[in-house]
């Protein structure tokens, strides 16, 4: 194993282990998403959803639940001196970016493992669209993880961390949300899934992932300098 890959695996394993032991983010994210579904049920006064409403409720909920995890992503690094340790270690700093993106990706997938089935049970009459939805979820999670990691690492060193993450992240995520809801809407349409512009939206999601993955990789070094 190259040193970078060993460091990547070590940081990722450290993150996942500490999350498993402390359970700081994941239960909160899952609980938040379920509560939000209940709020949407009364806010919209609908017991079943389809099409654009279903896509909007699902993605708005997942996004806000993700913000909770993104907020906490670097807190341990800052408070327990993880940043200093990374700076001291003879490894490429981008490794930390990669590992954090991977950790956040795991959190998001775990969140969706809980939230999406519950969403289907609560609101969907027809769960046939959930199969292809996995592709949308994966690509959107990748972009959300890249942007979220970048913003989280910037916000954690500021005075207003909890405020800045949603404030800066939400406008940045708009194109991702446009593509994700655009792809999800026909999948959850009334009367069975259809694939209207599905490939196009997946390509937009892929492009978003690529651009923000590269930007994050390129600028992350500067966020760790001191």
């Amino acid at each position: 194993m190259t040193p970078s890959r060993a460091a990547f695996a070590a940081i990722l394993a450290k993150d996942l282990r500490s999350e498993l032991r402390t359970l700081q983010s994941l239960p909160a994210m899952a609980l938040f998403s379920v509560t939000t579904f209940v709020i949407f049920r009364f806010g919209l006064d609908r017991t079943s959803l389809s099409g654009s409403l279903a896509a909007g409720v699902l993605w708005a909920t997942l996004l806000f639940a993700a913000v909770l995890g993104i907020n906490r992503l670097f807190v341990a690094e800052r408070e327990e001196g993880g940043f200093d340790a990374i700076r001291l270690a003879p490894i490429d700093r981008s490794v930390l970016f990669g590992a954090k993106v991977a950790a956040l990706l795991v959190y998001l997938l775990a969140l969706e493992l809980v939230a999406v089935p519950i969403f289907a049970i609560f609101f969907l009459d027809d769960a046939a669209g959930l199969g292809p939805l996995v592709a949308v979820l994966l690509l959107a999670d990748l972009g959300l993880a890249a942007t979220g990691t970048l913003i989280s690492s910037m916000a954690v060193n500021s005075r207003a961390r909890d405020l800045l993450v949603p404030l800066v992240l939400l406008p940045l995520i708009v194109p991702l949300m446009i593509a994700a809801t655009g792809a999800t809407e026909p999948l959850l349409a009334l009367g069975g899934p259809s694939y209207h512009r599905f490939g196009t939206w997946l390509m937009v999601l892929g492009l978003y992932d690529l651009i923000f993955g590269l930007v994050g990789y390129a600028v992350f070094d500067f966020l760790l300098e001191d």
Partner: protein, 240 residues
């Protein structure tokens, strides 16, 4: 040192604005469909173009700052984004007025350029709270540059995504105007574009000059060992 050339530049800006505005009002013909209100096009569209270019240039300055670690580039980046955000407010207001006059609503969601601009504006509006929240000056400059680079990459992507979200393309005045715009209109439009671009450059230069002057005053005061009265605002980067 930033004040050099400021006077001729200001005079040129005022002259160009005066010439362009008189071209807009007395030379360019009235639009057949929209009448007089279409004149707002000559302000709205150049402002939007200049603001977007300013955002991108802010990102390029930010790259220069990250590469050279010279604080001058951070100040350039900050001032470009600052002036562009102010122009952005004007774009949204003139856009709303134009939408009200030609479509009957203050805001239309099926005009992708306007919606994209709003999203870009919302993102850049968070530049200030973001800068405010970081105390250490070096770190503030570096993080602000990272923000400017990220947001610069975001601008084209966002325009593409919003354009694609349009299920049916609204007949767009600018597209039709650009295609079949009579020569007189085109001339007035291009003159306005140059004038607004000059205005932006002048304002950027003014702000940099003011910052450099107040930085010098501060340093002189410090050299005289006198306490600084008032002081400059926290977010504003200093120029040496």
């Amino acid at each position: 040192m930033y004040g050099k050339g400021l006077k001729p530049l200001s005079i040129a800006t005022v002259a160009m604005l005066a010439v362009s505005l008189s071209l807009v009002f007395f030379y360019a013909p009235l639009d057949a469909d929209q009448g007089f209100i279409q004149k707002i096009f000559y302000v709205h569209v150049p402002l939007a173009i200049v603001a977007l270019v300013g955002f991108i240039i802010g990102g390029i300055f930010a790259i220069a700052h990250l590469r050279t670690n010279n604080r001058k580039w951070d100040a350039y980046s900050y001032v470009s984004i600052h002036i562009s955000v102010i122009f952005g407010v004007a774009v949204l207001i003139t856009g709303a007025i134009w939408a009200k006059a030609s479509w009957g609503h203050w805001w239309v969601w099926d005009e992708p350029t306007l919606v994209s601009f709003l999203i870009v504006f919302l993102l850049y509006a968070t530049y200030y709270p973001f800068r405010y929240a970081i105390e250490d000056r070096d770190r503030q400059a570096r993080y602000a540059s990272v923000f400017a680079v990220t947001a610069g990459a975001f601008v084209p992507l966002n325009f593409m995504a919003v354009r694609m979200a349009q299920s049916l393309v609204h007949p767009r005045t600018f597209a039709t105007a650009e295609g079949g715009m009579p020569g007189e209109m085109m001339l007035a439009f291009l003159c306005m574009l140059v004038a607004i671009g000059l205005l932006c450059t002048t304002l950027v230069k003014f702000e940099l000059t003011a910052k450099s002057a107040s930085g010098q005053v501060k340093r002189l005061r410090r050299a005289l060992d006198a306490p600084v009265a008032g002081g400059s605002s926290r977010i504003a980067p200093e120029v040496s």
